[in-house]
Symmetry: C2
Subunit: 450 residues, 2 copies
């Protein structure tokens, strides 16, 4: 549905561009949300993007579009723009969004833009840029409502109307002491429900969940999701309130991290490559395939050592694909369960032995089932009992070991603080391929005495 709407937008804009129907274009562009325009921009040449961008009347709308643009497109787009216009847009944007944008640009460009920005905003932006991208500090919003715990509900309402009228989303009101330290939280609703003269500290909740600026964004996101809260306050090392991470940022983090995990496991880098050029896409995917290529060449040498046996019983080769396939598939199952389980918190890195033990058992049972099945096919085809037995046993071994490796490796990587998703894809598959082939030939040559 959403896709259909987007498609219609793209088609009609392209048609209007061909026709040069400026006034119609201007109308549509100014009515369309920045998020939709950013997707449209992916399909347009730079010239048309500039044309449409210049038609946007509202400077705030331009800012939203800036934030929504893909990194590549943004850098390319800003390159030829008048710096004064860029600065005018940045000055109007929320400071955390400006910090994110400037972090994408080369250092020189970023600092020259910063210098031209209004002092008040640029100081805050510089502060924000000091935090790592993927930490609480890097994603936090510096606009929040902080009130002194000593003031009354009535005074709080007045202060909110006066000073904080432009805070984007007033989810929670944070109470601070005289040093700016976070001491409590209350809701807008509480303020209007209690007697006007009650001081904040009399009704605020003092048990506030907060995170520190250097906490990893994924941890922050998990906290917000687990406790179903709308925003979590961020404090610095001395417990001073410096920002909030809101639930809408958390959504983006989860989508980003899920996509990253999926892409990493398939060995296609961390970022979404499809919208990049063929050359970039090829370059990102090349090294991951190299791991599997090395593994394949290794398997080739392993088989080479059994060449004598193969020349005597050529049909041994026919079982290579099914044994590799079964091992590879159950290995992928195991590693996926573990990687995703760790990411969602369903599995705990401390439970390594329980998890690996369970996977090994499942691998063994499934190995028996399919070993018997594939062994029977071998028996029917070649009527050699020892061959059938060897194939059966090879499947059992290969699937058990695959489940073991597939679950062990991501667990161990997670304990060593290496991202299990990166490690798992090519590494596990390649290891399992080699092990499967080796087991199979070793068992078969013993059993058949060749």
């Amino acid at each position: 549905m959403q896709q259909d709407r987007q498609k219609i937008l793209t088609v009609s804009i392209k048609r209007l561009l061909r026709r040069g129907a400026s006034s119609r274009l201007r109308k549509i562009v100014n009515k369309t949300h920045g998020a939709d325009l950013s997707i449209l921009f992916r399909d347009l040449p730079l010239k048309d993007r500039r044309l449409l961008f210049d038609m946007i009347d509202d400077v705030e709308q331009k800012g939203i579009l800036f934030s929504e643009l893909d990194e590549d497109l943004f850098i390319e787009f800003i390159d030829g723009m008048d710096p004064d216009e860029v600065v005018a847009i940045l000055d109007d944007m929320p400071n955390d969004d400006v910090a994110d944008l400037l972090n994408q640009l080369p250092d020189e460009t970023a600092s020259s833009l910063l210098k031209r920005m209004k002092k008040e905003g640029s100081d805050e932006v510089e502060d924000l840029m000091r935090f790592e991208d993927d930490t609480a500090g890097g994603i936090m919003n510096p606009d929040f409502i902080a009130l002194n715990q000593e003031i009354t509900a009535k005074a709080a309402i007045e202060q909110i109307q006066k000073e904080f009228a432009d805070v984007e989303m007033p989810f929670y009101l944070y109470a601070v002491d005289e040093y700016g330290n976070l001491v409590g939280v209350c809701s807008l609703r509480q303020l209007v429900v209690v007697k006007p003269q009650t001081p904040l500290k009399a009704f605020m909740t003092t048990d506030v969940l907060s995170v520190q600026t250097h906490m990893d964004q994924e941890e922050v996101a998990k906290l917000v999701a687990r406790y179903d809260i709308l925003a979590v306050p961020v404090v610095d090392d001395s417990n001073r309130l410096v920002g909030i991470v809101t639930v809408d940022d958390v959504i983006d983090i989860f989508r980003e991290e899920a996509t990253e995990d999926i892409l990493k496991m398939a060995g296609v880098g961390e970022e979404f490559v499809e919208t990049k050029s063929i050359f970039k896409s090829t370059r990102i995917r090349l090294p991951w395939l190299f791991a599997s290529c090395l593994g394949g060449i290794f398997a080739f040498y392993v088989i080479g050592t059994f060449e004598d046996s193969l020349s005597r019983i050529t049909y041994l080769a026919a079982f290579i694909p099914v044994i590799m396939g079964m091992g590879g598939n159950i290995g992928t199952q195991s590693s996926t369960i573990v990687v995703r389980g760790l990411a969602t918190g369903r599995l705990n890195i401390h439970d390594i032995w329980t998890v690996v033990g369970k996977e090994l058992t499942v691998g063994f049972i499934l190995g028996l089932v399919y070993g018997l099945l594939i062994g029977s096919v071998a028996q029917m085809q070649y009527s050699t009992f020892m061959l059938a037995l060897a194939v059966c046993l090879a499947v059992v071994c290969s699937m058990s070991v695959a489940a073991l490796v597939g679950s062990c490796v991501p667990m161990i990587f997670a304990r060593l603080n290496i991202d299990p998703a990166v490690a798992t894809g090519p590494f596990v598959t390649t290891a399992i391929d080699i092990i499967s082939v080796y087991f199979y030939f070793t068992i078969a040559t013993r059993f058949l005495g060749v």
Copy 2:
């Protein structure tokens, strides 16, 4: 960090349970969030779970724990409980949560509990249960603030304090006409900023994004994420406002859908299996492996038809793993990019030819690179130029076809409205295995004249 905290909780609760330290346990249980208790419960026997549950003083806290429990655990838990106690907890819970819980129970149990519930709540719960689980109606919250568009800001504030004091999260105030139809939206902040006598309709935003009850939950989630809104109103067929979907539900949907996609692609069902029993886990994984087993047996017959050639040149077999591996891996890359691209909206199903064309090009380039590399290894090992050429060509063909199949299949499935994630995993891998092996042997036997 979160995991460490959870681990400490589990360990200390277990120790206190062994010691029978009731008063300490009671204190901890009442201080711990339901979300944390639900994870703790996974590690405890039913007896201990009941013991801890009975220690919870607050009925609301019990309700939160109910909502957070895994489905299996909830059903098992509720089985031996006194229905009166269950009903007391349900009566206190938000109705949308009750509807979700009852949907997990057998029909009989659900309707007997519904009959015992307070009339007011049970009617609303029944209404909610009519919607499909994964639609806007199924996930919406029926508690929202709807105000007549004709009333003044002052009257609105009074009405909110009186009637809507228990609405969980008053993100937006919806304006309705005399028939309950959605006509506008405004924020709590706007109410306190405008002159008290202004009627809602004078300052409300009339351009409200809304969704219909039967819209798929994933579509709803994408809308909320795309436009960075906190809640989206849900209307029935006649545009009457019936509920809202809030941003915290959207987080759950994204996490769920991402996990589902990842699990489906790996062929381990839709739900997270690690917390299930070994038997269940085996049963869920069995059928997916069957597809790859059939494919393997098919590949076995394909190789069988080349047995004569193999018996003459046995070392042909040594290249099977590397050719299958390279095809399989690039196929996984392509299908992952497409499945994830479709899920996140980075790719559009209408752009099938662009996407497939690009993947085919990337596959061909990467095929050339690795074909030359693997061909060189063949040349070094066997000094037979025609063999090296055949291996090189087989890698190019296998990788190109794999990229083609890997990108085509999910695109086609998506257009046929079949979930691309389900289809992609075992289906694509198996197809590529067979095609790779067939290409390799056909090319090699031609080139080498065997």
